[in-house]
């Protein structure tokens, strides 16, 4: 239950981190708070040759406000979002999601960027930020680029990053005052990995109607027909349940039912 040996580097800036990643040629692992990587290291399921600690890179713990978006540094912790120590682009949705991630002692070190890079299918940010249409800011040997989060996760624990690349920030558009958000997850116990989750984002002013099914066995899934889900007086909820159950996401009646109901409960939160 101890990690196997690794080297440790704490670069001062993004360029140095990229150089270290390039030199390591795929054998290094970037670490922020280490709350997902830590267990993998302890179980020896991950055995990188080098850990690159990016928490000394100052810009990664900053938040930048743009006119129509907020860019969160990759190393901003869940607790910082939960406590509203950072500006919020979502009328309180981000803090409410953050408060439900694992446990406070984990949230004090776990980071948004780290969670997305780890790409656990049951992670809260992967599902909710996909629903928010977030973009990932990536730095690498070819410079910086932006990736839409719904294109970022490729498979369980796998993301579209080259060996020399890592996440430096998360860009979330500012939602209007009229925006409504819903999020629900089924966990055996509070803080445990979710078995099903649903997220809904509606912004009439921006013309956004998006629903995401998370905690699948792989990537988050976009709900195909949100118009049907938003029909009035309970009709939409019934349509959503039938639609999602028919998708047979887990190909198991119990888990498919959980996905349908988790999404229905998220949908209820935005129903008017």
């Amino acid at each position: 239950m101890k990690p196997s040996q690794f080297g440790y580097a704490r670069p001062a800036n993004v360029e140095e981190a990229v150089r270290l990643l390039q030199e390591a040629d795929g054998s290094a692992k970037v670490m922020a708070g280490g709350q997902s990587l830590g267990p993998l290291l302890n179980l020896r399921l991950a055995q990188p040759s080098l850990i690159i600690d990016i928490t000394a890179i100052r810009e990664l713990t900053l938040v930048r406000e743009e006119k129509d978006a907020i860019v969160y540094g990759a190393c901003v912790t869940h607790a910082s979002v939960e406590d509203r120590r950072v500006p919020d682009a979502t009328n309180g949705f981000l803090p409410s999601v953050a408060a439900g991630i694992a446990y406070r002692a984990v949230r004090n070190r776990g980071t948004m960027g780290g969670s997305l890079a780890h790409a656990d299918p049951a992670a809260d940010w992967m599902t909710t930020l996909t629903a928010l249409g977030a973009e990932i800011l990536v730095a690498g040997s070819a410079g910086e680029r932006r990736v839409a989060l719904d294109q970022f996760m490729t498979a369980p624990f796998s993301v579209a990053l080259e060996d020399s690349e890592f996440i430096i920030g998360i860009r979330i558009r500012r939602y209007s005052q009229a925006a409504r958000f819903g999020y629900f997850k089924f966990c055996r116990k509070r803080g445990e990995f979710a078995e099903a989750m649903g997220a809904v984002v509606i912004d009439p002013e921006l013309g956004i109607r998006r629903g995401i099914i998370g905690a699948t066995d792989s990537r988050p899934i976009l709900v195909p027909d949100m118009d049907a889900c938003l029909r009035p007086s309970g009709e939409g909820i019934q349509a959503a349940k039938a639609m999602i159950a028919a998708m047979k996401i887990a190909d198991d009646p119990v888990r498919d039912g959980m996905h349908a109901n988790a999404f229905a409960r998220a949908l209820k939160q935005v129903a008017q």
Binding site: L45, L62, A105, D217, S218
Partner: protein, 402 residues
């Protein structure tokens, strides 16, 4: 080894640590502060919770070097802390502990709850305590104890404004970058040592018989553009079958008809290399067969055991063959502890899909054999993304079809 400086319980300390050392191990093994308990060592149980820069963190999954320069407080530092004195008395009065193993973590969390959440009711306390496991008390006494301190404090003290905290991980941002770099000791690398060590292969505990012991993980059918006798012959040829399994390679063929095999799997940062044995049983009349395999990943001490059952059916007047395969598996050890069933099934599904593709390709040109895959590691992301995309497209196209 690198020189690490920290403040522990008010004292500045300097210590030589390996980069892999966790805060918990530093405190317990080098400083003899054994009040910090280690339960699960994967961030689940909460017994190792300590304060770093004033906030609770899991010391078992917090890298010590990454917390260089931080201020650490363990349970030993709270003897004279007024709030902790109150909490200890309340724990005592409400029978909030029995064996005491969880208590150091419980007290650290309890103190944080009282200070951070003014007026937390019982429901909120239970939510906040969800990350600390107690196997003795059933939590009722612990919750009551914390609630009683909250009530008495509310009467005594006005709420304090929350402290301003940094935005990054607790404990980070103190130690300087650059000059704190630790050399990567090439000869000490884990990957090298895992490869150099001879892989001890236990002459397999014979794999369990087929009869319905485990739920099948994956069933797939696919057509191969080759007549059934050709496909049947190929399935009988274990070495060329192994070549079609992504990540698998043949080490040797034994006199008793079994095969020593290796299989490397990789899913994101998770990697394992299973070494073990495989054997095949065939029924020529029914055109069915079972390939059993079992192996051990020496690095994570995980055991895997699985079997692939196949059946061949004539198609298109004997021009092509339908292959029905069913894969079941059992995992134990670290990998099983970590992996959730659905993800493993999904992963095996990906391997099976690739196996089917490789087999079809290797049989396509009238059964002539070609090199199909690098017997290297399976990178699920690349090849599987395509299959996943096709599946998603299909899924999105036909949500109401059923």
């Amino acid at each position: 080894m690198n020189d690490l400086s920290l403040t522990v319980n008010g004292e500045k300390i300097s210590s030589l640590v390996e980069p892999r050392t966790s805060l918990a191990d530093l405190l317990r093994e080098q400083m003899n502060l054994t009040g910090t308990h280690l339960g699960c060592e994967q961030g689940v149980c909460g017994a190792c919770t300590i304060l770093v820069d004033g906030v609770p963190v899991r010391s078992c999954i917090s890298n010590a070097t990454a917390c260089g320069g931080a201020e650490v407080r363990t349970i030993e530092d709270f003897d004279r802390d007024p709030l902790m004195i109150e909490l200890r008395q309340a724990f005592n009065a409400h029978h909030a502990l029995q064996c005491g193993f969880c208590t150091p973590g419980m007290l650290i969390m309890a103190r944080d709850i009282v200070m951070r959440l003014h007026g937390a009711d019982e429901a909120r306390i239970r939510i906040e305590l969800a990350g600390n496991l107690c196997r003795c008390t059933g939590y009722a006494g612990i919750v009551k104890a914390i609630r009683s301190v909250i009530v008495s404090r509310q009467e005594a003290l006005p709420p304090r404004p929350p402290a301003s905290l940094p935005l990054g991980p607790a404990g980070s941002g103190h130690a300087s970058a650059g000059n704190a770099l630790v050399h990567v000791e090439k000869n000490g690398l884990a990957t090298a040592d895992a490869q150099d060590k001879p892989l001890q292969v236990k002459a397999a505990a014979a794999p369990a018989p087929l009869a319905g012991k485990r739920a099948p993980a994956v069933k797939q059918s696919f057509s191969v553009a080759a007549p059934q006798p050709v496909v049947w012959e190929r399935f009988g040829d274990v070495p060329s079958m192994i070549r079609c399994i992504p990540g698998a390679s043949l080490v040797s063929q034994e006199a008793d008809g079994t095969y020593q095999i290796k299989m490397r799997v990789k899913m994101g940062p998770i990697g394992a290399e299973f070494a073990g044995v495989a054997r095949q049983e065939r029924n020529d009349d029914a055109l069915t067969g079972i390939i059993h395999g079992s192996g051990r990943d020496a690095r994570s001490a995980s055991l895997a055991e699985g079997q692939l059952t196949y059946r061949l059916v004539d198609e298109n007047n004997g021009e092509s063959t339908r292959v029905d395969i069913e894969v079941s598996y059992q995992l134990s050890g670290a990998l099983a502890q970590f992996a959730r069933g659905g993800i493993v099934t999904h992963f095996i599904g990906a391997i099976t899909t690739q196996f089917a593709e490789n087999l079809s390709r290797s049989l396509s040109s009238a059964g002539t054999e070609e090199e199909v895959v690098e017997p290297g590691e399976l990178r699920i992301a690349g090849s599987f993304a395509g299959a996943l995309k096709a599946w998603l497209v299909d899924l999105l196209r036909s949500p109401f079809r059923k």
